[in-house]
C-alpha cells in the first residue's frame, strides 16, 4: 500500500502501453505506440484523484478539463469524454500522441508527486482514436452569422497546420464561409510533412482534416499566399472579411561551419519532407529520391532531431548518431521520443558540438569533427550554458549529416505584404492576435517561433475569438461558462447546448 495516505487507494503503477518491438519497428514506419485498449484506459482512469483543485488543467496550454474527461472515461461515457476534450482541444487524437505531456499536464499532476503521474496523454489519445473509429464529428450546431450583405462572412486561412485548422474549425462553427489555403499539395502542415507516420499516422491527420471538411471548411492546396495573391488582396479584392495567417516557422537554420554545403549535409526538414510528404522512402516507386547515408549524424536533440534520427534508422542506416551540445537533461524533445530512440539503437553524443564537416575530396561528406562541451553557468533560458573543452576535438565518420538545430520565420508573407514583423521576422500581433492590418490575424509558430502543436492550436482558437469579436459575431462560450462555473459539460464542441433555444441554428451536413 502507498506510504502516503490518499483518499482512496489507486493503482500504484502507471498502466503500461503496448509498443512495437524496437528491433522490428526500427525497420518499418508503423506506429510505435499501439495505444490503450478499453480496459487499459479504464484502469488508468482509476488512478486519477479527481483533485478539487486540479493542477493538470492549469498545466494544459488550452485548459482541457482533464479530471472531467477522465471521469467520463471511467464511467464508459466515451462520447461524453470526447465532448469534454473537444470543448477546448480540437485535435485529441493528434495531441494525445505529440504533446510534451511531461512538461504540461502530466508534469504537474498530483499523483506524480509520489508515483508516476496519471497517463493523461494516452487516455486522450484513446478517446481521440475512438472518435475517429466511430466517426464522431460532433455534428455541431452552427451559429448562423451574416455579414452586411446577408451572405456568410468569408474567412481566409493561410496555412493548414494545427493553428490554421483550429481557427478554421471555430470560424466554420460560427457559420462562416471558410477556405484554407495551403502551399503544399497536401494539407496538415508539420503534422503532414514533419512528424513521421510511426509517431502520428497519416490516417489520423486525414481524419482530422475530413472532420473540418464536414464542418464546411474548404481546402485549396497548391496556393502560395503572398505570391499567388497577397494578404492585402485577400481583404481588398477577394472579399475576405478576415484572414488568419498560420504559416509556421519552417525556414531551417544551417550551422554556418565549414563544410555546410557539402553533399550529404541537409536540414531535417528536407529529410522529413522527402520521406513523409513526398514518400521518398518508396523510391523508385515514387519519383522523389532520398539517398541514404550508411552512417548518419543528426545535430540537435529536439523533436525534429528525434524524428530525423529514427527516420534514418528506418530507412536502413547502419549507424545513427545524435550530437547535442548540452546534456540529456536539457534535451528539449518529448521524453518518450528520446526513450524510443534509445531503444531503437540510436547512439547519443551528449555535450558535443560540431565544429567542421569534412569532405571526401569529391564534394561529399566524409566525417564530422566535434568538440566536447561542459556545462557552465546558467544562460538567459535558465539552462546551463555549454562551453567547449579545449583540445577535446574528435571525429565521427559519416556520410550524411542532418541539421535539426531550429528554424526561422518563413520570409514569404513578410516579403509580399506590409504586415509589421519583429526583428527576427515573426509577425507582430496585439493580445487578440490581430496583426498591424485590421482583420488580419496571425498565430502559431509564425508569431511565437517554433513551439508545439497544442500551443499552435490554442493560438488558432484565440485568433478565432478575436476574429469573432472583430466581425461582431457573438461569442457565447464565456457567458455560459461564467453562469454555471462549468459550462463545458453541457456544451457541444464549445457551443452551449442551451444556446440552441435562443439562436436559430442549422446543422452542418
Amino acid at each position: 500500500m502507498a506510504k502516503k495516505r490518499t483518499v482512496r487507494t489507486i493503482h500504484q503503477e502507471r498502466t503500461p502501453v503496448r509498443e512495437l518491438d524496437p528491433l522490428i519497428r526500427a525497420r518499418n514506419f508503423e506506429e510505435v505506440n499501439c495505444g490503450y485498449t478499453e480496459l487499459e484506459a479504464i484502469r488508468e482512469s482509476e488512478r486519477c484523484l479527481f483533485c478539487p483543485d486540479p493542477k493538470c488543467i492549469a498545466g494544459c496550454p488550452v485548459s482541457v478539463n482533464i479530471p472531467d474527461f477522465i471521469q467520463k472515461l471511467g464511467e464508459r461515457d466515451y462520447r461524453g469524454a470526447y465532448d469534454v476534450i473537444t470543448a477546448t482541444n480540437l485535435l485529441p487524437a493528434v495531441c494525445g500522441r505529440v504533446c510534451p505531456q511531461e512538461n504540461q499536464c502530466e508534469g504537474v499532476c498530483t499523483v506524480g508527486e509520489t508515483l508516476v503521474s496519471v497517463a493523461i496523454g494516452r487516455m486522450e489519445r484513446f478517446i481521440g482514436d475512438l472518435a475517429i473509429t466511430n466517426g464522431w464529428i460532433n455534428k455541431p450546431y452552427i451559429q448562423p452569422s451574416r455579414s452586411t450583405n446577408g451572405a456568410p462572412f468569408k474567412i481566409g486561412i493561410v496555412g493548414s497546420g494545427p493553428s490554421g485548422m483550429a481557427c478554421a474549425a471555430d470560424m466554420a462553427k460560427a457559420g462562416c464561409d471558410v477556405t484554407v489555403f495551403e502551399a503544399f499539395h497536401e494539407a496538415g502542415g508539420v503534422l503532414r510533412y514533419g512528424i513521421p507516420d510511426f509517431r502520428l499516422p497519416n490516417t489520423v491527420v486525414d481524419a482530422e482534416i475530413e472532420k473540418l471538411k464536414q464542418l464546411g471548411v474548404k481546402f485549396e492546396c497548391n496556393v502560395l499566399v503572398g505570391r499567388l495573391f497577397t494578404i492585402e488582396q485577400m481583404i481588398e479584392e477577394e472579399g475576405f472579411h478576415a484572414v488568419f495567417i498560420g504559416t509556421g516557422a519552417g525556414y531551417p537554420t544551417m550551422l554556418g561551419i565549414p563544410g555546410d554545403s557539402l553533399n550529404g549535409v541537409l536540414s531535417a526538414n528536407e529529410l522529413l519532407t522527402r520521406c513523409n510528404l513526398m514518400r521518398a522512402r518508396d523510391f523508385p516507386n515514387v519519383d522523389t529520391p532520398l539517398p541514404l547515408g550508411k552512417h548518419v549524424v543528426v545535430v540537435g536533440a529536439g523533436n525534429t532531431a528525434m524524428d530525423a534520427l529514427r527516420v534514418s534508422k528506418r530507412l536502413g542506416a547502419e549507424s545513427v548518431t545524435c550530437v547535442y551540445r548540452r546534456s540529456k537533461t536539457e534535451c528539449p524533445a518529448r521524453a518518450e521520443e528520446v526513450h524510443h530512440a534509445e531503444q531503437e539503437g540510436i547512439e547519443f553524443h551528449w555535450l558535443s558540438n560540431p565544429v567542421e564537416i569534412l569532405s571526401d575530396g569529391d564534394g561529399s561528406v566524409r566525417a564530422i569533427r566535434c568538440i566536447r562541451m561542459e556545462l557552465g553557468a546558467p544562460d538567459d533560458s535558465g539552462r546551463r550554458r555549454p562551453v567547449p573543452v579545449p583540445g577535446s576535438e574528435f571525429e565521427i565518420e559519416t556520410d550524411e549529416v542532418v541539421y535539426a538545430i531550429g528554424t526561422n520565420a518563413n520570409p514569404i508573407i513578410g516579403q509580399t505584404s506590409k504586415l509589421k514583423l519583429n526583428k527576427r521576422g515573426y509577425i507582430e500581433t496585439d493580445n487578440k492576435l490581430m496583426t498591424s492590418i485590421a482583420g488580419v490575424f496571425a498565430g502559431g509558430d509564425i508569431v511565437t517561433g517554433a513551439a508545439t502543436v497544442i500551443e499552435a492550436m490554442g493560438a488558432g482558437r484565440k485568433a478565432a475569438r478575436g476574429m469573432k469579436a472583430y466581425l461582431g459575431i457573438r461569442d457565447v462560450g464565456p457567458i455560459h461558462r461564467g453562469a454555471t462555473g462549468d459550462g463545458r459539460a453541457t456544451s457541444l464542441f464549445g457551443i452551449d447546448a442551451r444556446e440552441h433555444n435562443f439562436t436559430r441554428v442549422r446543422v452542418a451536413q
Binding site: A183, Y193, Y251, M278, D287, T288
Partner: protein, 300 residues
Amino acid sequence: MITKTAPIRSDKKPFEILTREDYSPVTYMLEVHHPQMARAAQPGQFVIVMSHATGERIPLTIADFDREKGTITLVIQAVGKTTMEMQQSCQVGTVLYGIAGPMGIPSHVSSAKKVVCVGGGLGVAPVYPQARAQKENGAYVIGVLGFRNKDLVFWEDKFRAICDELIICTDDGSAGIKGFVTDGIKQAIAKHPDIDEVVAIGPPVMMKASAQATRAAGIKTMVSLNPIMVDGTGMCGGCRVKVGESVKFACVDGPDFDGHQVDFDDLMVRLKRYKEEERVATERWSESCRMNGSPMATAA
C-alpha cells in the same frame, strides 16, 4: 513544328494543358490554364509542378504568361525521369496534378538603358519574359541565344519581336554564329561599350562562363540559379547556394543573384547530389516504356 491546341471551351479544368508545341525531340512547350497565376506572374518567377500524385515536385520557370487568356507557358527540356515522362503524358486536355507559385522574387527590371539577355539551352525560354520586360521598360535589348544546332532553335521570332539586336549562336555554326553564348556576349560588348547589364540564364557552366566574360568589363551580370528544390517555399534548405559570403535559399531569396558573387562550382557539385538515383529512375522508366512498347522509349 506541330502545335496542338484545345478547342475553346469555357469549362477549363484547373491546371489543364491547353496548348502543346514540340520545339525539338527534347524540348516542348506547355500552355497551362491557371488564370490566378497568369495574373500574378512576373518575369523571373517559377512554379513547382507535380505531374501526378507520386511524382516529384520540379521547378520550372514561367517562360511566358497571358493575363487575358489566363494561361502560363512552360518550356521544358526532357533531361530525366520526370521531364521525359511529362513529355509523354502532358498532352492537350490532360491536367497537371499540381502547380504552385509563382515562386521566387521577381526579377528586378532595372533602369538599365542597354541590356544583353542571354539564354542557353533550357535558359532560352526563361530569359524571354525578362527581355520583354526590359523592352517594355524602354531599354535597348540585345538577345544572345545559344543552341547546339539549327534544329534545336526555337522562339527566334518571339525574340526578334522584342530585341533590338539578336545574336544566335550554335555549337556547329549551322545557324547564326559558330560558338557559345560567351562569343555572342563578347561580340555584343565589343560593339556596344555602353552595356549596363547582362542577364544570363542557362546551365550553370554557361552562367559561370557568362559571368566570367563580363567580369573584366565590370558589367553587372544577373543570373537565375537552378539548384535542386523540393518545396520552393523556403522550408527545406535544399536549394541553398553560396553568394559572396552568405548562404541563400534560391527559392525565396532568389532565384536571381549577382553572377559575379555566385559560387558556381559549389552549385555544380550540389546538382550532382542525386545523380545515382536520377539514373536509376530514368533507367527504370525507360525500361517500363520499352515493356509497354511505347514509341518514346528510344528518344529517352
